[in-house]
Symmetry: C2
Subunit: 157 residues, 2 copies
């Protein structure tokens, strides 16, 4: 059975740092801080909320501060951008780069990542019928997560 992602925040951050190092890049302090915020959040987080959090420790931080960190994290596979919500979420399994399906809860904003090769193949096939070639990307799907469906889904982030 797969490991249960019980890593502590620190474990995740050092694994991320190693992952960057392997790619010849650095998880600098700012990037680390943004990633820590994403990992700590229960769901997705908006860029300006990250900015506000960072400004508590570093009042001079400006939008480019956080957008640069986010761009880096997304490029490194450490985070995903949810285009349909203008929000960001830590990647649950950056060691295995993937594009898949993001199940986004409309109520609590949590995100479940999954991959389904059958689904992807079907999509590519449908597209091919129109001569369209699909680029690698995440598919964003909105709905209600199990918790929120059962009525105990208090709004979180």
């Amino acid at each position: 059975m797969p490991h249960a992602h019980t890593h502590s925040l620190e474990d995740n951050l050092s694994a991320a740092a190693q992952w960057c190092a392997k790619r010849g890049e650095k998880l600098t302090e700012q990037r680390r801080e943004v990633l820590a915020l994403l990992l700590s959040a229960p769901g997705s987080v908006k860029a300006y909320d990250l900015l506000a959090a960072i400004q508590k420790q570093k009042p001079t931080a400006a939008p480019p501060t956080v957008y640069r960190a986010l761009d880096f994290l997304v490029a490194a596979g450490l985070a995903h951008k949810l285009e349909s919500k203008n929000a960001f979420v830590a990647c649950c399994d950056f060691e295995h780069p993937h594009h898949g399906v993001m199940l986004i809860c409309n109520q609590c904003h949590t995100v479940k990542e999954l991959t389904d090769p059958v689904l992807e193949a079907r999509l590519a096939e449908d597209a091919k019928a129109w001569g369209f070639s699909v680029a690698p990307q995440d598919i964003e799907v909105k709905g209600l997560c199990a918790n929120c469906r059962h009525g105990d889904g208090e709004a979180q982030a």
Copy 2:
């Protein structure tokens, strides 16, 4: 074989007006104008580009003018919002309300709508395995359309 959507702009607009009437709503002049712009564009269009076009005839138009029209058109099924691009596109077949797959060309910005019940079923099934219930929505998929793949895809809109 299916009809080839060779309708003229006027045909489309009057069909849309009837569609609205059937729903107890009105395709007012502003809404009609925005829809006409969407129908005439080769691909998706940004809200502020629509605004600029409208301002040529009516210089007092402001952002709410166009956003209100767009909200109406989307709610009525006459247009789709492409969330991943912050752009809008006319619906190709509003008489048959649907949510499906939008194949968005990264180069020429054209959009091909399609539906695939098998794909949707598979997606719903995947989600269900996690207790997640999928809401009706369009799936946005980016890539390259047939034209642009073959090198004759000059940038359009």
